[in-house]
Symmetry: C2
């Protein structure tokens, strides 16, 4: 089984007008995605933000759950948050994966918009069951990943869809669904 | 396609010691699950709590997004929250489904614990593609649905799982994954 990593990107992402912006870190994204990553066998969750104070905030929240009463009350929370690593940039996450595995990861972008040449979940699932890798799945906050991230990714996953034309899932929900499609027990 | 409804239950649910309790309503659960329900073609999301003040709080949050500046800024949020209905009890939700569709719904419970006689996602997906229904999928907050809800449900879905033995997904993540397994475009 190939190593799978996840990056939650707060820059560069798009706002609702398509401008490239830096979004703020949402506490519950980190908790939910850490638990989803732990469930689906992800090796690490990179929380990527250039804002020093926000990386500091996440570090403080992690410490809260990893120590004392909070840890005793809910040890599974600490177990999930143990997967979280903080990086300033996506490149920093890529380098960290290389440092850990000896190879730069193959970037897999996600988007709620239909792109040319998207990869199917079945294809990527099959690759992940093989010996290749590592893979780094990149989730965008705000209105999604900036074009520059999508352009330099080796694969862009097809948008999630149900029987409607509404596709405004939260990044917490979308991240969990994508991991289930890629790694869920069938 | 059969009508599918979702109930987010705050009573009766279990705490970590297995006691039957009433959990508080988490604002972000309502937002995330409403967006997931809208994506996967759910007919209504019942937020079920016996606490009058908490139903009042949810009503106020819905009004915020359905009016004025908030609605103009993010119309897709209002579109999703339009699916939310407030009920005191699960029975109230069942009666409301009957009022709307003319038939009492088949209850489908969810659990992170392995139960006897669980239903597979494939089975329920096939039923939902048929002409039966309506179905009411019940999600538990806190440490999951109380036994009495599981016992009177016609089906209990198998626990979600990935390649690990960790299964502590948030209800926001689990709800999205379950809906994707039942209704996602393959």
């Amino acid at each position: 089984m190939a190593d799978l990593y996840v990056a939650l990107l707060h820059h560069p992402v798009q706002d609702k007008y398509g401008n490239v912006v830096t979004s703020s870190v949402t506490n519950i994204d980190v908790h939910d995605l850490a638990r989803s990553c732990r469930t689906y066998g992800v090796s690490a969750l990179y929380v990527v933000t250039p804002v020093d104070a926000l990386r500091g905030l996440v570090r403080r929240i992690m410490r809260h759950w990893e120590q004392g009463q909070a840890r005793d009350y809910n040890p599974t929370r600490a177990e999930a948050l143990g997967l979280v690593r903080l990086e300033r940039t996506l490149e920093g996450a890529e380098i960290d994966v290389e440092r850990t595995t000896g190879r730069l990861p193959t970037l897999v972008a996600t988007s709620a918009r239909v792109q040319a040449g998207t990869a199917s979940y079945g294809d990527l699932r099959a690759r992940l069951e093989g010996d290749g890798g590592p893979y780094l799945l990149v989730l965008g906050t705000s209105w999604g990943l900036a074009e520059e991230v999508i352009e330099r990714s080796a694969h862009v996953l097809e948008p999630l869809a149900g029987p409607t034309d509404y596709n405004h899932l939260s990044v917490r929900a979308a991240g969990a669904v994508i991991l289930d499609r890629l790694r869920g027990t069938r």
